[in-house]
């Protein structure tokens, strides 16, 4: 079970600045259980966004958003609504956000912070997708996680060892910063990489913070 909680509304709205029309995605798996992005929360978010003057182009709540094949199938039914939206807001853990980012050529905003994988690692088995850092960065990295997938957890771009799309640590590991660069280039958002990212708050991460507090 991946444990997540919704980011503060202010933070979510700052992500959506400039986007008029939003498509909403939730998950009936973990996010439903933790009330961060189930049917109810998606409906609530729809109302909130409309109150804030946004147009909600559509919404869908997938059974297991981290199941890439299932999500692909479900999103196909909303192709037109997604195409009409400026961006997508995903209300679930980091694994689900990254599933959507890989499937859709559109800006994907994370609406939640992932606090803990609770021992599980989502349905997406081929690679690490979320390190439960508690302070989701996917907004700034094209929906690909540098905490989980960069060997040095770098936040300001690739190190000097990225060559030919591979990580210096192992030629079998893709350099996630190359992937982030390519995706942001495709989305016309390379300016996102010019921003100086400040030191991360590790106190909310499972590996550095107190687990009892997080799981209570």
């Amino acid at each position: 079970m991946l444990i997540s909680e919704q980011k503060p509304l202010e933070e979510i709205l700052s992500y959506l600045e400039g986007d008029k029309s939003i498509f909403l995605i939730g998950c009936k798996g973990c996010a439903e259980g933790w009330e961060s992005g189930g049917e109810k929360q998606v409906a609530e978010m729809k109302n909130t966004l409309q109150e804030k003057g946004k147009n909600v182009a559509g919404s869908v709540v997938v059974d297991m958003l981290c199941d890439s094949a299932l999500t692909k199938l479900k999103l196909r039914a909303h192709k037109k609504e997604i195409a009409a939206a400026d961006s997508i807001l995903v209300l679930t853990d980091g694994a689900g956000v990254q599933t959507v980012a890989e499937l859709v050529n559109k800006v994907v905003h994370p609406g939640c912070n992932t606090l803990s994988a609770g021992g599980a690692h989502a349905e997406w088995k081929e690679a690490e997708r979320c390190l439960e850092c508690g302070d989701c960065m996917l907004e700034f990295t094209g929906g690909l996680c540098p905490i989980a997938r960069c060997s040095k957890h770098l936040l300001n771009g690739p190190c000097g060892g990225s060559q030919g799309g591979k990580c210096e640590v192992d030629p079998d590991i893709p350099c996630v910063w190359q992937q982030i660069f390519d995706r942001l280039a495709k989305l016309g958002q390379l300016d996102k990489l010019e921003r100086l990212v400040t030191p991360k708050n590790w106190s909310v991460s499972l590996i550095s913070g107190p687990p009892v507090k997080r799981l209570s």
Binding site: S151, K152, G160, Q163
Partner: protein
């Protein structure tokens, strides 16, 4: 002048600067450092002391810097994020400055997997860009990363590295720009063997006006053998060694390869001096310090300005 750094003084007076490199020993022997420092003395304006390069345990950079400083040189302490969190980094910054060291090169660090303790836990609390910003704020704002103030600031000339040969190539100059915004005073680049690619990168640097905001020292290094060239080409992350370099070394009799390696290094230095915006060289004759005086002399970079710190 922001600091008492000899390197800063040389760069500010627009003299083409020369920095060297010294690797501390895998032991507690101070004589190794003294010996290497004496070879470099008078031939470089400052020199880096590596901080656990390739993640192999060696004497601490700051300690080796202090020993070298006793020999009358201006050391550049290297500091990596691999082994220290923001608490340890700031404590070291204060200590380094208090010991009278004037320069610091901020690095993310080679991954622990490459060293002799591959099962170690990497830290990477900050990245090199965040480290530059933190040291800059400590020096210029007298502020710790948490925002609290300090009474006496660490007066360090702040350096960072950049690799024009890593990917994505188009992002490399943007990354340099971030280091400049973060507060880097000088940049030392990865070793240049692919001069054309370096020149392309420098053009992108000039297009953004970065060469006017930061001093760029081009990395150069002599190659001792054909085997070493091949090793760098295939095994060292982030290196770009064109085939022409290997062909050139293969073209001379075996006993003359190291001599040819030195000649190649001198040729590259001369090419670097022609590129607008290159403020100096960073000469890395790792475990071959004896080659430094010969190279600096033959490249017409002697005498060096009298050292003042």
């Amino acid at each position: 002048m922001k600091t008492k750094s000899n390197l800063e003084r040389v760069l500010e007076s627009k003299i083409f600067a020369v920095t060297g490199e010294l690797g501390p020993p895998q032991s507690a022997d101070p004589e190794v450092i003294r010996k290497k420092a004496r070879i470099l003395k008078g031939h470089v304006d400052a020199f880096n002391v590596t901080d656990g390069q390739t993640a192999v345990v060696r004497m601490a950079s700051w300690a080796a810097c202090l020993i070298a400083k006793e020999e009358g040189l201006d050391p550049i302490v290297q500091m990596t994020c691999r082994d220290r969190n923001r608490i340890a980094l700031q404590m070291d910054v204060l200590g380094i400055a208090a010991l009278g060291i004037n320069n610091m090169l901020c690095l993310t660090g080679d991954h622990q997997k490459f060293g002799n303790h591959p099962t170690a836990k990497g830290v990477y609390d900050l990245d090199s860009i965040q480290l530059v910003k933190m040291v800059k704020d400590m020096r210029d704002e007298r502020k710790f990363q948490c925002g609290e103030e300090m009474a006496v600031e660490p007066r360090l000339f702040i350096g960072a590295a950049e690799n024009p040969f890593a990917d994505p190539f188009e992002f490399r100059v943007a990354r340099l720009a971030k280091k400049v915004v973060a507060g880097a005073d000088f940049i030392q680049t990865q070793i240049v063997y692919n001069v054309d690619k370096f020149a392309d990168w420098m053009k992108m640097v000039r297009d953004r006006g970065l060469h006017e905001r930061v001093k760029i020292l081009a990395g150069v290094a002599p190659i001792k053998s054909v085997g070493a060239a091949k090793y760098m080409k295939t095994r060292v992350p982030g290196m770009d060694v064109p085939d022409s370099v290997i062909t050139r070394l293969q073209g001379v009799p075996k006993e003359q390869v190291s001599k040819e390696g030195i000649k190649l290094c001198i040729d590259i230095i001369n090419q670097m001096r022609e590129i607008e915006g290159v403020a100096g060289i960073h000469l890395m004759a790792i475990e071959w310090e004896e080659a430094v005086p010969e190279i600096v002399e033959a490249a017409g970079l002697m005498p060096r300005p009298r050292l003042v710190t």
